[in-house]
Amino acid sequence: MQRQLANMKQSLFDQGYLDEQFIQLEELQDDANPNFVEEVVTLYYRDSARLIHNIEQALEKNPLDFGKLDSYMHQFKGSSSSIGAKKVKIECTQFREYCRTGNAEGCKKTFQQLKKEYATLKKKLEVYFQVARQAGPVEKACRPK
């Protein structure tokens, strides 16, 4: 189980879904907070859903308010980077770049891509946490090679 977990994690890192920040979170996990990472990720998905919704609404306006979009995305990026959501973060950066240049099409397209990555990561992490719970408490997370 633990090995399976470790493999899963390794794969997530290798595929670029997660980055170093995720490790930081795992290092915070301890006996007092054995499910810390899962809690944080859950918190993230809950809060960011709101942001995603706001951005979607803003993207439907015409003309686009790039300033506002950029601001939302800035928040979203901050959140995403704190849990180590690497691919999502990359899309955020791209989105902001399009905002900066006023590229509405680019923004919309990137946002679709972002949502995809966001959803994919969510699913993968859900599975990961499920396995983690089954595997039982583990010692400090080992860094993926």
């Binding site: 290092e27 944080v40 993230y44 901050g78 959140s79 849990i83």
Partner: protein, 673 residues
Amino acid sequence: MDLGVKPVSFTSSSASWKSADGVPDQFPAGLRVLVVDDDPTCLRILEKMLKNCLYEVTTCNRAEVALKFLRDNKNGYDIVISDVHMPDMDGFKLLEHVGLEMDLPVIMMSADDSKNVVMKGVTHGACDYLIKPVRMEALKNIWQHVVRKKKHEWKEKDFEQSGSVDEVERQHKPPEDVDYSSSANEGNWKNSKKRKDEEDEAEERDDSSTLKKPRVVWSVELHQQFVTAVNQLGIDKAVPKKILELMNVPGLTRENVASHLQKYRLYLRRLSGVSQHQNGLGSSFMGPPDAPFGPMSSLSGVDLQALAASGQLPPQSLATIQAAALGRAATKSAIPVPLIDQRNIFSFENPKLRFLDGQQQQNNNSKQVSLLHGIPTNMDSKQLATLHQSAQSFGSMNMHVHSQASQSNSLLTQMVQPPSRAQILNEINGSHALNLPSSAGQPVLSQAVPNAVLGQNGIENVRRPAFTSVSQPSTVVDFSRSQSTEFPENSFSLVSNSGISNLTSKLQDEVNSEMKASRGFVPNYDVFNDINQNRTQDWRLQDVRSTFEAQQHSNGRGSLDVSSSVLIQQQFSSNQKSGQNRIPPVRKAAFSVADGLGNTSNIGQQLSSSLVDNPSRIKAERLPDMGFQNGLFSEHFGQEDLMTAILKQQQGGMEPIENEFGFDGYHLDNLPV
């Protein structure tokens, strides 16, 4: 550690420094951190990280709540970590508030790592800036900021005091740890410092002397009292001893007041417009919370007057106003200029102040409430900014003179933000009661300057101080330009003059007291009027210039480098060619102003610093906007006239500018040039 012997127990949560008893390894455990971030994910992560560092963490997701926590428990936190982008209040505003009111180290954080934002953090006085996502390693060392600040503060106090007190205190350095632990509630840092002392850190000795002294928390009420006392005495006459007497607060020591006064002055200086980069003054000067000023502008002229009448806007109200104003300003862009200006001013101010006072890092002048505010600190990119600064400086000066609140409003209103230079110019001009060249035809003027209006009308009616706030900005600007680095003081004079003039209309009485620099102030009300009508800026400038030059000589302070400022003006005038020859009246004003300036060392100082900054800014920015200049000039003159008028009134004649201040170690020469 022998817990039995030392009263401080590790389990005690009240003692922040569990290690106070001399166990070096304890510190920084127990460091009390307040974290503010609207992102719940980040907040949760930070909380956990900080807890893992063995810090005591309090979290909140709103700046208002954070401030409430801080205010309710003044000594309850050692350091604050705040996000930059928050919905209810800008992180930098919070930073200023904290610096001013509680004087705690503040760390900013953001996912944004662009240079200008980080720079903003620096100029607003943040002691560190973390880029998100934040790592454990970054948080582990935050305690250094607490220690550093304490040490610095302590040294500051030391400096302020004649030193005798410190020495005496040092001797009282309690040998036992018990003392330290008992004073844990006073200043936790002291305990930690004490610990260091035990570890033979020589510099810590200073701390020990303060061990017995509880750290004074400058609450809003206390600060208000302080400001009242300062205003009563007059900024240039405000000596810690007298302030202490006036305040009559038991338990408050002269050193406390002196240190607070120093910060207050820095704050004022900052307000008066600092061109930061130029002078490299940028220190961690914490700009006084813009809030006070911000709201000010929003106040109508009437309000201001009322405020002025009351003498001082209670910090609370100011804070409220500010918050409101700020919020408004922040949200509106098109808004009534005054509001915006305020906002901008604040932000400007911060950076400016920083520059001004490199050394005084910790000056968060809570006093600023009454201080000039509105001096935009970030003029750097815009001419307007420069103007603003100058205007602000004036404004700030004015404010200072009058009851800060009122002044700030007027100034603020006047100080328009760079959003539209022309606009701003106009506003400034307008605000100064001069219907200055409003190239932009700012409507704002009317509102912005309640003072200005008063000034204008007041000039005639005003007994003395008819500072036309309007002219002030220009004046300031002008000066600043010429003087990029020299005579900062002069700039101040001008600034203050202008500022004062604004105020005078409102608070004549106050002005009188404030403007200690009464030197043969020749109220050129007429001038102002003229200015209002048209752009006589060029002329005025010239006049002012000559006046100042003369002043200079007479001005013992020598800080007023009127000539330089005048020169600048001349430049402007030449550029402008407004063709207004109203200068003559200004000249007189200039003189008065100069004199006044000399007297108002405080103001001068502040002005100079701001002016100094401004000049650099102005130079850079001075630009092509002739119209702008014109506006400036007219304002310039207006201000000068006001200043002189005020000064005159104050002194009823030329008085040698002597150092009435008696500040400890305060004098215009402080201004870094």
